[in-house]
């Protein structure tokens, strides 16, 4: 075992003698990547793919905000986009961000790279399935882009029937894309569950695993249990749309509310597919940068699993005013409050970890603190929506838009950025410009709050969501939100710039730049193809910062 203090004091070179060959340079050429079975390379390919999706979805988001800058949608005297185009743009923003970016971003990109390293494994359990999962993602992405080129769809990412079964556009192709992406997600989940069960290093029991692994494991459970329901639902939608089989459209004997039940039975757990990996990253960042063992390890681990379970029994809270039975509405509201408990437990445990720590405010830790603040706002505003009487007024307004952006972006994307900065030296072997990292993180937090905090006030005032035209009274808040989106967008472009710039210089990252204790910091940066020179054996707790006495 290597003592952490030695590592943090080390010079800016590898702690271990830097190996000549690593996973990046061992083999070369297109097929060495396209046909690779190495979890690290697949993770990097996923990262590149999801980053392009993030860029595309982000451009759509900026276009949405720009359109809403004024009630006339005019920029320099010209109408930017019309109502039909606007509806397509927000639909594409939702579909790309949910299915192509957030769901695969942490588990399939970062998780793929990091999780086997954390377990002390050579690879995931099924490397071929891992590659297949990536190609399904590529297939789904190509289908979605084809549908976009063919005119895109205006259904909203929720595909609510009977609108989605009657509107024009390549809806079948787009739902087909979501179907294929779903299977990509299932493959990843299946693979990760098997990996966690079978490939832990000698000496690593369930409660010796890093908390990131617990989070990814809980996510994988949801992925394999909930995603098939989405697949079935989308197939039913395609059958109705193309063959007139009445399932959801009342004109041919269907029930539109049934679709919403099916859809949210997947899509509510999907919210936890998105947020659990984010929480999992924060559970790594906080002990590492506090240089202190995690407070309440078991509570955090159990809270991940219990959030995964609770996620399956709260879907009806999307439908309080949608025509489900009143009894169901009451029961779903009560169950929804259960979500607050494990979420709160995690936040308190993170604060408990920081207490009396030795906290270095490097960029990943700044993102972790930003996460704590943004996720808390996202969680607390969820109480307004879980409470029945206030939900009736707030649902279907910008309040909901703001709430889920605080959880999905303020939570997951913030954690993702923290994780990306945290593992960037490990993945690329290079340090980024720390100064620019901190500047971008502060810009990101300010821009995010300008954009989305504003939208709580818009929603409570009665501004419905998915509106192209709006009443003049809402313009000041809309304009402020749009300006915020420019700050937010700039911070992300800045991040992309300094991260990519770091790739131009020679490898300079130490093996353990942050003083981490988990196993991924015990291999070289970047790791060799088989991860470890010799099989690591786990003898200590995952976040043990007690000084080691050398015998």
């Amino acid at each position: 075992m290597i003592e952490y203090q030695v590592q943090t004091m080390a010079a800016k070179v590898g702690d271990l003698p830097r190996p000549k060959k690593n996973y990046l340079n061992e083999t070369k050429g297109f097929w060495s990547w396209a046909g690779t079975l190495d979890h690290k390379r697949i993770g990097v390919m996923y990262l590149v793919g999801t980053m392009f999706a993030f860029l595309l979805g982000g451009c759509f988001a900026l276009l949405i905000r720009l359109t809403l800058l004024t009630p006339t949608h005019k920029l320099f005297g010209k109408v930017l986009i019309d109502a039909e185009t606007y509806n397509r743009v927000f639909t594409m923003h939702g579909i790309i961000m949910v299915f192509l970016f957030i769901i695969p971003s942490v588990p399939a990109a970062l998780g793929n790279f990091v999780m086997p390293l954390m377990l002390g494994a050579k690879d995931v359990a099924f490397p071929r399935l891992n590659l297949a999962s990536f190609y399904l993602w590529v297939t789904g992405a190509l289908m979605a882009i084809t549908a976009m080129v063919l005119g895109a769809v205006d259904t909203g990412w929720t595909f609510y029937t009977p609108y989605s079964t009657t509107t024009d556009g390549p809806v079948t192709l787009m739902t087909g894309a979501a179907f294929v992406l779903g299977f990509s997600s299932i493959f990843t989940g299946l693979n990760f569950i098997a990996t966690v069960h079978k490939l832990r290093a000698p000496g690593m029991g369930w409660f010796d695993m890093p908390l990131f692994v617990w989070g990814i494991y809980s996510t994988a459970l949801i992925q394999i249990l909930a995603t098939p329901v989405l697949g079935i639902t989308l197939v039913l939608l395609m059958l109705e749309r193309n063959f007139g089989i009445g399932i959801f459209d009342p004109r041919i004997g269907g029930d539109p509310v049934l679709f919403q039940h099916f859809f949210w039975f997947y899509s509510h757990p999907a919210v936890y597919i998105m947020i659990l990996p984010g929480m999992a990253i924060i559970s790594e960042l906080i002990p590492t940068f506090s240089h202190k063992t995690i407070f309440g390890y078991r509570a955090i681990a159990y809270s991940s699993v219990s959030l995964a379970l609770v996620s399956f029994i709260v879907w009806g809270h999307h439908m309080f005013v949608a025509g489900q039975s009143q009894l169901a509405t009451v029961v779903f509201s009560a169950l929804t409050f259960l979500v607050a408990i494990p979420s709160g437990v995690k936040v308190f445990n993170w604060l408990g970890t920081m207490y009396k720590g030795n906290i270095s405010l490097d960029t990943p830790m700044l993102y972790a603190i930003a996460f704590l603040i943004l996720f808390t706002i996202g969680g607390l505003t969820g109480i307004f929506l879980g409470t029945l009487s206030t939900d009736v007024h707030l649902t279907d307004t910008y309040f909901v838009v703001a709430h889920f952006h605080f959880v999905m972006m303020g939570g997951t994307v913030t954690a993702f950025l923290g994780g990306l900065h945290y593992w960037w030296p490990k993945m690329t072997g290079r340090m980024y410009a720390e100064k620019w990292g901190r500047v971008a993180c502060v810009m990101y937090t300010i821009g995010f709050n300008m954009t989305f905090l504003t939208q709580f006030f818009l929603g409570a005032k009665g501004m419905p969501r998915r509106y192209y035209n709006y009443l003049d009274q809402f313009q000041p808040l809309h304009a402020f939100s749009t300006v915020g989106s420019w700050v937010l967008g700039s911070s992300l472009f800045l991040t992309a710039a300094y991260l990519l710039a770091s790739l131009r210089k020679p490898a300079d990252a130490p093996d353990n730049p942050w003083g981490g204790t988990t196993l991924e910091w015990h291999c070289s940066s970047p790791p060799i193809t088989h991860n470890f020179e010799e099989q690591p054996v786990v003898e200590r707790e995952p976040y043990d910062y007690r000084p080691v006495k050398h015998a």
């Binding site: 109480i383 009736v392 007024h393 279907d396």
Partner: protein
Amino acid sequence: MEWLRNLMLPAQGSAYAGEIDTVYMSLFWLSVVLFLGIAIPAVYFAWRYRYRPGRVTPHVTHNTVLEIVWSVLPLLLCVGIFFWGLKGWLEYAVAPGDAMEIQITARKWNWAFEYPDGSRDAGTLHVVVNKPVRLIMTSEDVIHDFFVPDMRVKHDIIPGRYTEEWFTPTVMGQHLFTCAEYCGKGHSDMHGTLIVESQQDFDNYIATGGTEWEAYKGHMADWGKIQWERKGCNSCHSIDGSRSKGPSWKGIWHKMEKMRDGQVVLVDEAYIKESENQPQAKIVEGFEPIMPTFQGLIKPHDFEGIVAFIQSLGTQQAQQAPQTQ
């Protein structure tokens, strides 16, 4: 704190709105306290325990008592909030038996109302102050949602089903209602005015379609423009020549309009009347058959006004369209 409530929430149109606002504002303050309770320690710890080389941190793995406390206290708080929310919602869930019943039919992108005596109107909803009103709602096409911000109520409107919502308006005057479930390109234009008036004014409106129009005798085009807005014609027909979901009304009067099936029709009273009652009968080339019927929804003087309004928007020189056979 009244100013803060007014800043954050719409005007209150009913006593129920006041109750909901009390819950909202209480949750708001609770959230502010809890947020500060988390954000202040997070920032304070980051500063107080900032990095010092060589400092050894205590190895504290857990504290069972503390962890039980911070699990159980939020749980109790949540149970309390749940029941408080349930209380207000139960009131919303069941309409009183003596409520006036109004049928609402929603369709892309328009509202039709039918009052207890069978009289009908579109776009504008009249109700009586201090008298509970129960809305029985259905949709002709996709899902819509009747949202009245000032009353703090909304409910989805579903094709093939009847759903309902109710409120007791207490503030006379005009309130906004608007569609809150995404329904396509006219979604954000699908709003109208809720008029809360005295029983006398309401009875008058039901009996005669209101006497308001009489003030416009002699300049019916102005009355027609009001109808264009109130009945929701404006969500699909522009008056400045710009292209929308339906043909613009500018310069359309006495135009020889080419239809989808090739025939050419003169735009006159008869054609406009037919479009109102059977909108699918003739579809102008380049447009979709998406207009809902307004049969029975437009009173004679309203129709007169609309025709006068269209006339006032200019006459197209009768073009010689090629005869198609």
